[in-house]
């Protein structure tokens, strides 16, 4: 054989993990850093990425798989890093490379995770002060830790957000868990840990908030048991809470909610939606009845167990077999209410009403409106609960289809399912627009 002929062949053979020998033209050898980036991109695009190992431990992937990932990955995702490195000083460049490498270490802290979130969602997501996030990248598990610690602003105060309003960023663990899982493909499981309140700040109301928090944790662990769990340090608390979760009854207001007077407020919009635009709303949500302000102030043996007062579902309605709960948010001018906590609120309302359908929580003995009376008369006949977010502007992390997909893959589906939905309305002048 001529020597020139042997030199023409510019490829050699590589072995894959299945013991098959193929041409190295079909493969791409990658460094650990490159491989990690490709894995993240593959997960994000839901495309396969087979990692094969060579004789010296080098790693390689099939070219066709990488091409498919590359075609499905928007270029903008990697652009900022490349540009930043190219334009900065050598010192700065080193700093950035170290920071970049840190992203692929075994654990990611809150700062790194929020940088990832900002990069993926293309929005400036602010990290809550009292929740610490830590991702164990090997186990793909996110630890979400609600901490009781000294306030940065007022050192005399040491707030515990498990005893505070669930809407706030520091308390809305359900919102963060779902959104982070939806946006960051390297999160498979979420573990919640919290500091048990040392001393209840304003006694009874804090206890009621804490009861509500424990109820949310208990139900969230049931609904998403395949990926959400309570840290071992808090498990006894939840077990004890589940034992004392009995003899419960929902509350009712003494009189029907009044017509709000303040124009341009959320309450006014809520009123208009249940009155002026009731037909439009009923058609859109497939309802026979629509009403507003359904209280969720659960009582235990006549005493407040959950916070009462203003705790109510903004809008609700029903048809023959479905109970629909609508959490309304209204953003106008300086009044902006775009929080991931909308998930936490809606989850609590949906679970509480589902527990009433199942007879775990008893309905109130009397109701101030005919709609509520009708609701409670039929409460055990509902076959499903629909939980709907309705706003004229959502938190940017909710702008991802995976959020609803995750929420709707809940374990309640076998018995009185809860389905989640999201609708954006437009409110111009005196005209309400909701999608057809």
């Amino acid at each position: 054989m001529k020597k020139e002929e042997t030199e023409e062949r510019d490829w050699s053979l590589v072995r894959n993990n299945n013991g098959e020998w193929i041409s190295d033209r079909n493969v791409v050898f990658l460094t650990e850093l490159e491989l990690t980036m490709e894995k993240i991109a593959a997960q994000k695009c839901h495309l396969p990425l087979t990692v094969n190992i060579g004789p010296d431990g080098t790693k390689w992937c099939y070219k066709h798989e990488l091409d498919a990932i590359s075609a499905a990955t928007p270029v903008v995702d990697i652009k900022p890093y490349k540009l930043k490195i190219a334009k900065t000083s050598p010192h700065k460049t080193q700093e950035m490379i170290e920071k970049y490498i840190k992203r692929f270490e075994e654990t990611k802290d809150s700062d790194t995770l929020f940088e990832d979130l900002q990069s993926m969602s293309k929005c400036n997501v602010r990290k809550p002060d009292y929740i610490d996030f830590k991702l164990d990248t090997k186990a793909s598990t996110l630890l979400l830790y609600i901490q009781q610690k000294q306030s940065q602003k007022n050192r005399d105060v040491c707030p515990n957000y498990t005893c505070r309003n669930m809407q706030t960023d520091n308390a809305a663990f359900e919102g963060w868990a779902v959104c982070m899982k939806a946006w960051l493909p390297d999160i498979e499981k979420v573990v919640l840990r919290w500091d048990e309140p040392k001393d209840f700040e304003t006694a009874s109301e804090s206890i009621q908030h804490y009861n509500r928090f424990l109820y949310r944790v208990m139900r969230f662990s049931e609904a998403f048991k395949d990926w959400f769990a309570v840290d071992s340090s808090n498990q006894v608390t939840i077990e004890e809470f589940s034992k004392r979760f009995c003899y419960l009854q929902n509350n009712a207001y003494g009189k029907a909610p009044e017509k709000p007077s303040k124009e341009g407020s959320e309450t006014k919009t809520e009123y208009e939606m249940s009155h002026t635009w009731a037909d439009q709303m009923m058609t859109y949500y497939n309802l026979n009845v629509i009403s507003r302000q359904l209280p969720i102030g659960v009582l235990q043996q006549g005493k407040s167990f959950f916070t009462g007062g203003k705790s109510a579902i903004d809008l609700w309605g029903m048809n023959d077999d479905t109970l629909t709960l609508i959490e309304l948010k209204y953003n106008y001018g300086k009044s902006v209410n775009k929080k991931v906590g909308i998930i936490s609120e809606l989850f609590l309302y949906a679970c509480t009403m589902r527990d009433m359908v199942l007879g775990i929580i008893q309905p109130p003995t009397k109701s101030p409106t005919k709609e509520e009376t009708m609701l409670y008369e039929r409460i055990t006949s509902f076959r499903r609960v629909k939980a709907e977010m309705l706003s004229n502007g959502f938190h940017p992390l909710l702008d991802n289809e995976a959020v609803l997909t995750i929420l709707n893959r809940n374990a309640f589906n076998e018995n009185i399912p809860i389905t989640f939905g999201k609708t954006k309305y437009d409110f111009t002048g005196n005209h309400l627009t909701i999608p057809c």
Partner: protein, 173 residues
């Protein structure tokens, strides 16, 4: 052309299902090939089979039984008659592979490649002559037939074409 030491083995294709699993024993067709490799070595004590010749249907059965990806095609087409040409065949098949939507599998691990390095990668034992099994498609062969072969070092063809037996060693190592 180099001389080869070869043995032909027979099987009943109807004994195997579409996934290359033996209908009664549950063993894979790959296991059958492994048994053929052991027999080959038993009959020629110093030799290990380097090449497997079969038609494309048999190659497909081997691919299925080996859990190959759907876009993998087992075996090189023979371009110089009925025997492997270690330079021409890889070159021509390599060119075809380059423009194909399928990936050609040129060889599979020998049944004797059982020792692994620290990364779990099977060791190629050059001293004893254990190399991966080069897969060669010969569509003139009948269904139910495979042929295992090794270049015959004792033949006088070495004087004429000394490169021939060196190339496969180089490729796999």
């Amino acid at each position: 052309m180099a001389k080869e030491l070869s043995e032909t083995f027979h099987f009943l294709p109807s004994d195997y299902d579409v996934n290359g699993i033996h209908r009664t024993s549950g063993q894979t067709f790959r296991s059958f090939i492994a048994k053929c490799e052991f027999s080959f070595h038993e009959w020629h004590s110093t030799e290990y089979a380097w090449m497997l010749y079969a038609n494309s249907r048999t190659m497909s059965l081997l691919a299925k039984s080996n859990g190959a990806s759907e876009n993998f095609i087992y075996g090189m087409d023979l371009t110089k008659g009925k025997h492997f040409h270690p330079v021409e065949d890889p070159f021509v098949n390599g060119e075809m592979d380059k423009h194909s939507k399928f990936i050609t599998v040129y060889g599979i691990d020998s049944a004797f490649m059982t020792e692994c390095d620290t990364n779990g990668f099977p060791v190629i034992d050059e001293e004893t002559g254990i190399y991966p099994l080069t897969l060669l498609v010969d569509n003139t062969m009948r269904d139910g037939t495979v042929r295992l072969a090794v270049p015959d070092d004792d033949s006088d063809s070495e004087k004429v074409e000394p490169v021939i037996i060196d190339v496969p060693h180089f490729e796999y190592v």
